[in-house]
């Protein structure tokens, strides 16, 4: 008996020891994530890291309804111009952007949104740029992946410097503070580079990308090919007031690409297979973006509280400008009566009516906020070309050629448009009016005013003072610079705030 009990003691001791688990017992891995290492083992995987960036263009960020990637930022950029008109306070979204308050409030989420978004693009692009060379796979695939990552990095820095720094002044040193150039995945706070340095790096990245992408025949327009890189390069040159290069690169970018038909023009700007689109995102059902879709704020037909209460209108002075013919298809995308009789299905009764509201953007349905989001069109290239030639001086003919091509394409009744013969400032004015009407709602107006050092002037049109508060902002005002958001200021000791 006693012996049996000793056996029990030994067994108990053994049970404790043998109860120990296998060595791998404590190794666990997530199922909804993959390791960064495996993300770059092959070019196939690296392509998925690139697709992740494409998705960032239209996904929700920071759990905020108004942060639908690039579309969301485009709304901010137009809200701060004079062409997009809020018809009512609606349910509050964008009110403080429209009033020029949010981007000057370091704690506002709108001030933070572009900073976060473009640096998130940059970080994901850098992961690719700095790891792709070691991935296993064909050289051609590496070029495609790295080339697009470079375009994203350039485009992100370009967007950041336009918002958060003082404008680029042609012929000046441009030593004013820009934004930090992030070329590696660095988590230590970096100081701001100069505006000149940022623009130089942007062009370096784009040039490298254009070489890498030269043979790339993309599967769809959510990917960027050499034409997109060239188009961005044209935008950069325009922002630098480098009109010679702007005209050349815009022409190069659009080479061989058509303008859309007038019938296609009124179908809602929601389909990236449109022949004129150069770059856009395609949104499928299980990636719907509900209330954080671009179309949840900018379309006429999606039944969100925001659109029912605050449908977006066009500046009445712009719309009614006599240079546009009544048969210009672009005017058909707005209704000065606000009734939208041409919409099918018709506007439901609980949608508030206001004059000059747009039907340029149409969501997939009243209950479905989906729609492809446009980032670059051939028309913009014509407009860059026209503007650059006109501002260059001595090249009005080339400018007129580009302008008239676009205008004729937008005319629904052939012959109704008499080709322009304007010159000098008149020609520039005509081009700019066309640019405003053509690109309404596509996110260009704030940066256009800023690059041209022009004042904001909302007076005389259908803006309501109680909604926009700021009717005019002088050129060169400190408010043209967005403030560096608090999150960056708090975590980055190297960061310097803009003038308050």
């Amino acid at each position: 008996m006693k012996r049996a009990k000793y056996n029990i003691l030994i067994m108990a001791a053994l049970a404790i020891l043998l109860g120990s688990c296998e060595k791998s017992y404590l190794d666990t891995v997530p199922t909804d994530q993959v390791s960064s290492e495996s993300a770059f083992t092959t070019t196939t995987n690296a392509m998925q890291a690139l697709n992740g960036i494409h998705r960032m263009m239209f996904q929700q960020h920071n759990s905020r309804q108004d942060q639908s990637g690039e579309g969301g930022i485009n709304i901010y950029r137009d809200m701060m111009g004079e062409d997009l008109v809020c018809t009512a306070a609606g349910n509050g979204w964008h009110n403080n952007v429209y009033k020029w308050l949010d981007h000057r409030n370091i704690q506002s989420t709108a001030d933070y949104a572009p900073w976060y978004l473009y640096y998130r693009f940059t970080a994901n692009a850098n992961m690719i740029i700095n790891n792709i060379d070691n991935a296993v796979g064909p050289e051609a695939e590496k070029n495609i992946i790295k080339g697009q990552a470079l375009v994203y990095r350039a485009w992100s820095h370009f967007n950041l410097v336009q918002l958060y720094a003082k404008r680029y002044v042609k012929g000046a040193q441009n030593t004013q503070l820009g934004v930090p150039l992030m070329l590696t995945n660095n988590i230590d706070g970096q100081p701001r580079n100069t505006v000149e340095e940022v623009y130089a790096q942007v062009l370096t990245d784009l040039d490298e990308a254009i070489v890498l992408l030269q043979d790339y025949n993309r599967a769809n327009k959510s990917h960027m090919n050499a034409a997109v890189a060239k188009g961005i390069k044209a935008r950069v040159a325009l922002a630098k007031q480098d009109y010679v290069n702007a005209a050349a690169w815009a022409a190069d970018a659009r080479a061989g690409l058509p303008l859309m038909s007038t019938a296609q023009y009124t179908t809602g700007f929601n389909d990236y297979t449109n022949p004129e689109w150069m770059w856009g995102s395609h949104v499928i059902p299980d990636q719907t973006t509900y209330f954080y879709s671009f179309f949840a704020y900018m379309s006429r037909n999606f039944s969100s509280t925001n659109i029912r209460g605050n449908p977006k209108a066009i500046n009445s002075l712009l719309y009614d400008n006599p240079i546009f013919t009544d048969t210009d298809v672009r005017k058909a995308n707005f209704d000065p009566t606000g009734q939208h009789a041409t919409l099918n299905p018709p506007l439901p009764s609980n949608f508030t009516r206001f004059p000059y509201t747009n039907q340029k953007f149409l969501a997939a349905g009243g209950a479905d906020s989906r729609g492809d989001v446009v980032y670059m069109r051939v028309a913009e290239m014509y407009l860059i070309e026209a503007e650059a030639y006109a501002r260059m001086g001595g090249h009005d003919d080339e400018a007129l050629a580009a302008l008239n091509t676009l205008r004729e394409a937008r005319e629904t009744v052939p012959g109704n448009y008499v080709p322009s013969i304007n010159t000098g400032q008149d020609l520039i004015d005509e081009i700019m009016l066309n640019r405003r009407l053509e690109l309404w709602g596509e996110g260009f107006r704030f940066t256009d005013l800023k690059r041209l050092d022009q004042a904001l002037d909302r007076t005389g049109a259908n803006h309501q003072i109680n909604l926009c508060v700021e009717m005019t902002i002088p050129a060169g005002d400190t408010r043209w610079q967005w403030l560096i958001p608090k999150q960056e200021m708090d975590a980055n000791p190297e960061m310097v705030q803009n003038e308050l």
Partner: protein, 1050 residues
């Protein structure tokens, strides 16, 4: 517990010898505390081994040999009582509770201890403190009972518990929650799965000596919950029923009236023009404000014209009255509130034979909260069986099942569907239902004959502005949406004890907990985020937890010395499966299952796994019941860390000295008991930072249309490791004058290698990274005093007071400062020190908000700087304001007071809690103090606003354009966190035993109780206990519950 244990010990160790042919004495032993019979009392004849135990109703019968003089009645927790027989054959005895209770058994990690010899710091809450309170989640039983424990308020949502902090705050980014152990096993599920009526005791382990045996997860203290088990030699059935009514306990903030509101909004528009960067002429501005008033805020519910409500002088038209039925329809809280009802029903069967015992319980709870569509329905069942068929083997099974169904009210944050946000901030001029704008009469739906909800943008009716949640309607959305869950939980614990070689015991404990959760929400297609399609959401999760431990116990007594040794191994496996589907496009009304929708918005699933493993040991040594020593050690591994850093060693040493066993104390008879104890040790923490924080990862599921994609999520950090807590504890426990007991305790707890989510510059593309950075300490004094203030005959008044302090200070950080929301972490400050803009006041000249300026370059900032009072440089730009440390949310002193009055079978118990010192950032108040957002309600304090040059006030002018500038977060919105509350009052009555027995009932009790009866604090509407960080939110404020109950034991 103590009653059961005593029986248990006696059954196992005592040989009861009964002689025949003697006098038979019988009687009933009852408790002085509650008048109930006490089972298991040892009744012995003095000087002999003759004795017997009392039965379930406290009755005994004993044959006493001739010549015996005295009977001795003893029971753990009661004073040993000797009674002269004096020839009687019936002797009824009332036992007094023994305040000193040095033999009381305390549940500790992997075992039990006697209070008198225990070397650690453990507080215990007995079942009787829980039974009569309408508590659904037993965490609510802890508040105010013991020092060193801080809790947040319980949400009014039925089924909610309270967050608990033991001895300060041990972590910044990782978890600060204590480890919950239920019947010996870590419990990762909701404590509300436990039926409070099944709880025997709750032990709270506060110091390293008591908690280090739990090593890796013990850093924030341990809460041990033990469920009831059966008593041998006893069979009883108990029925319990209670019924309660619940209402809101904390009132709403005081807000301005409709007519005042018109005037305020007029001013907001007026001043926004007058003080615009391009100022408008005051006369024109006034005309604009008068004419534009209704344009800005939408609704004219007065008897005068739109442009006649407020004149160009800014004054309210004295003939303006509220029109028609509008006056009855401006309170948005009434339609979503009701008087809640709480019904709690239970049956327990309890009994056993000499070798086995059983406890069976069935419970049903139905708690409907005071807000519509918030309720909690719970079925619980538990079977606990133990048996010892042979002397060397004992085994048992404790299985429990819980089924819960609950409707959940949206709360927290500024979602439109959150009724607490919506109703609080809705301007006072907006009606719930549609009215005829010209008569004010209710509009009637011609089909249903009901009133119609006014969504604020109904064609033909006025439009609410954005500040009044246009297009949304919380009453309609609450009624038409669903947010509910079902939760089925099954838990099983089993063990085998093998006793061998006289001094050894080997135990294997196996347990599993399974939690199946099915959550569903539906958003209607008429109003809200679901409109116009309707959306349905289903979340299914399955949590599976296995825990195995093997324990080897050795205990031996050598003369006056005794030794206990424990060796053990434990492994823990946690798996969480998550599946969610989200669809829109409702097909048929009334069915919210996913198949009844047209389009899939989201469909995803994942599995998380966490594992840990540990080896541990404990040695206890006792010399002559005078000197006690204990040491413990545990080596733990966690799957949350990289393989080279995942193992940690945790340990403790402790000692106690019973001074009262020394002759020099024995010479002072007024000292009943005195014990000194001290401990030191190290514990760890790995929870709350995610399961894979060390790994560099990409998030899956970021596809670009149908092309697969992923995105960067985190950076690698293989150095990540345990957060460790080193704590020292010194205490004196005492009993004096037979009526005072108490303890004075000091602790100092250092948390190092803090697991930290360090904010990164956003320019890095990431927002934070987990790191082990920094060190901080918590230290405090805990004091407890129990006094029998009055003991006169049957009347007893006991006061139990506990108080504690906590000081938290950061001593090391990797970077100079880390700013998080309203707090800034810096060496020398606590984790809850407010870092806010320094509010200066209001400029009497123009009513601008002034902040102390952060002057760096005067020239470039000049446009927003002002010099006031001759010397102070202030700014009118909140972006340029200087931040400063502005107090802390940690109180100077907190505590609880329990007053208990007993008279015969009547008992009245009052639990109060209080907190002195500390600050709260009242964001809810700040949201009502805005400077004129059209449509949003305002606090009555806004009436003190600046109105004309020369006004001296602390409330800036109303100016629609300046709301974010004037209303920016600053120390202006700090308010004192001090409070006094009457948390719980219970009046109970035990029917006299002889009365109940005459109707065949062992005992019967009735009671009346109230929760959250009184709160005194700095501001009406403020919940001072919403969060440890001293913030407020738009939440379901705690319920005031009045309950009546009865329990009958057969």
């Amino acid at each position: 517990m103590k009653k059961i244990l005593m029986i248990f010990v006696l059954v196992l160790t005592t040989t009861i010898i009964v002689f025949g042919q003697a006098v038979q004495i019988s009687g009933i032993v009852t408790s002085q505390e509650d008048g109930l019979g006490i089972p298991g009392v040892s009744v012995t004849v003095k000087g002999t081994t003759i004795g017997v135990l009392t039965a379930a109703d406290g009755a005994y019968s004993l044959s006493v040999p001739p010549g015996s003089n005295t009977l001795v009645f003893s029971f753990i927790g009661m004073k040993k009582t000797e009674v002269e027989i004096q020839g009687r054959t019936r002797i009824d005895v009332v036992l007094q509770p023994d305040l000193i209770a040095m033999d009381e058994v305390v549940v500790i990690g992997y075992g039990t201890a006697r209070r008198g010899s225990y070397t650690g710091s453990a507080a215990q809450i007995e079942s009787k403190k829980i039974e009569t309170r309408p508590i659904t989640d037993v965490s609510q039983a802890i508040e105010g009972t013991n020092p060193g424990i801080q809790v947040t308020s319980a949400s009014g949502q039925p089924g909610s518990g309270q967050s608990i902090r033991i001895r300060g705050f041990g972590s910044v980014s990782a978890s600060n929650d204590p480890l919950y152990i239920v019947d010996g096993v870590p419990y990762a599920l909701s404590i509300s799965n436990l039926n409070p009526n099944d709880i025997e005791s709750i032990s709270i382990l506060k110091d390293a000596a008591s908690s280090a045996i739990y090593g890796n997860r013990a850093a924030n203290g341990v809460v041990l919950i033990t469920t009831k088990r059966g008593s041998r030699d006893r069979t009883s059935i108990q029925f319990t029923v209670s019924q309660g009514l619940s209402t809101r306990s904390i009132p709403e903030y005081e807000r301005v009236s409709p007519l005042d509101y018109y005037q305020l909004m007029w001013e907001s528009h007026y001043f926004s023009q007058v003080y615009a960067s391009t100022p408008v002429d005051p006369a024109i501005a006034a005309q604009n404000a008068t004419n534009g008033l209704i344009k800005n805020i939408g609704y004219n519910i007065t008897t005068v014209a739109d442009n006649a409500i407020v004149g160009t002088d800014g004054k309210l038209n004295t003939s303006a009255k509220i029109l028609g039925d509008y006056a009855k329809d401006l309170n948005w809280q009434d339609p979503i509130m009701r008087t809640g009802h709480r019904g709690d029903y239970g049956i327990t069967f309890n009994g056993g034979t000499d070798k086995s015992d059983y406890y069976v319980s069935i419970g049903y709870l139905n708690d409907k909260g005071y807000v519509l569509k918030s309720d909690y329905e719970r079925y619980t069942g538990r079977v606990n069986i133990n048996t010892q068929p042979r002397k060397w083997i004992r085994t048992g099974l404790n299985i429990s099942g819980t089924m819960t169904e609950s409707n959940v009210a949206s709360q927290g944050g500024t979602a439109y569907v959150n009724p607490f946000f919506f109703t609080r901030n809705m301007g006072p001029i907006y009606p719930v239902y549609q009215h005829n704008p010209s008569t004010g009469e209710y509009l009637i739906d011609p089909v249903t004959n009901d009133w119609l909800f006014d969504l604020g943008n109904v064609p033909g009716l006025p439009v609410r502005p954005g500040g009044a949640s246009v297009g949304r309607h919380v009453v309609a959305e609450t009624l038409w949406n669903d947010d509910l869950y079902k939760r089925n939980v099954l838990g099983a614990r089993t063990y085998v004890d093998i006793f061998f070689l006289k001094d050894f015991k080997f135990t294997i404990n196996l347990s599993s907990d399974v939690n199946a959760y099915n959550g569903g929400s539906f958003e209607n297609k008429t109003v809200g985020d679901g409109a116009p399609a309707g959306r349905g959401d289903r979340v299914n999760t399955l949590t599976t937890i296995y825990n195995i431990n093997q324990l080897l116990n050795y205990s031996k007594t050598f003369g006056v010395q005794s030794v206990e040794l424990l060796l053990g191994h434990e492994s823990y496996d946690y798996t969480y499966n998550y599946l969610r589907g989200f669809r829109q496009g409702l097909i048929v009304d009334g069915n919210t299952e996913l198949i009844n929708f047209t389009t899939t918005n989201s469909l995803t699933s994942y599995t998380d796994k966490y594992r840990s493993e540990g080896y541990f040991s404990r040695l206890n040594y006792n010399f002559g019941e005078k000197y006690f020593f204990s040491a413990s050690f545990r080596r733990d591994g966690s799957s949350s860390f990289y393989k080279d850093n995942r193992w940690g060693n945790f340990w403790s040493v402790s000692a106690a000295w019973r001074l009262d066993a020394e002759d020099f104390i024995k010479a002072m008879p007024w000292i009943d008991m005195a014990k000194l104890r001290a401990s030191y040790g190290e514990t760890g923490n790995d929870s709350g930072i995610g399961y894979y924080a060390w790994q560099a990862l990409y998030n899956l599921g970021r596809n670009n249309a149908d092309e697969p994609g992923f995105q960067q999520a985190s950076l690698s950090n293989i150095d990540l490791t345990w957060e460790s807590n080193n704590s020292v504890d010194v205490a004196l426990e005492f009993g004096l004058f037979k009526r005072i007991t108490g303890s004075l305790e000091f602790y100092h707890r250092i948390s190092s290698n803090l697991l930290f989510s360090v904010p990164l510059p956003s320019s890095s593309g990431l927002t934070s990274i987990s790191r082990n950075v920094g060190t901080m300490y918590n230290q405090g004094i805990e004091f407890r005093l129990g006094v029998d203030a009055v003991k006169r005959g049957d009347f007893n008044w006991n006061i139990d007071v506990n108080m504690s302090t906590v000081k938290n200070e950061i001593t090391k950080l990797p970077q100079e400062e880390i700013i998080q929301g309203t707090k800034k972490l810096m060496v020398g400050h606590s984790i809850y020190d407010f870092w806010l803009r320094d509010w200066y006041g209001v400029d009497p000249s123009d009513g601008s908000a002034l902040y102390d300026a952060d002057v760096k370059d005067f020239a470039t900032q000049e446009s927003n700087l002002r010099i006031v009072n001759g010397t102070d440089t202030v700014t009118i730009s909140h972006n340029n304001a200087k931040y400063h440390y502005a107090g802390t949310s940690i109180p100077d002193l907190m505590g609880g007071i329990t007053n208990t009055f007993t008279y015969k079978g009547i008992s009245l118990s009052v639990l109060s809690t209080f907190q002195l010192g500390g600050q709260i950032y009242d964001g809810s108040y700040a949201s009502l103090m805005h400077s004129g957002t059209y449509g949003t309600a305002q606090h009555v304090d806004i009436l003190k606003r600046w109105q004309k040059p020369g006004d001296i006030t602390d409330v800036p002018r109303l100016d629609n354009k300046q709301t974010s500038v004037f209303g920016a977060q600053s120390d202006r919105f700090l308010v004192s966190a001090s409070y006094f509350s009457i948390r719980s009052v219970t009046l109970s009555y035990n029917l006299p035993v002889n009365l109940t027995q005459s109707i065949g009932v062992n005992n019967a009790r009735v009671w009346l109780s109230g929760e959250n009866l009184l709160l005194l604090n700095a501001r009406k509407g403020l919940d001072p206990q919403y969060s440890f960080a001293g913030t407020t939110n738009h939440v379901y404020t705690p319920s005031r519950i009045i309950t009546a109950g009865i329990s009958v034991t057969l």
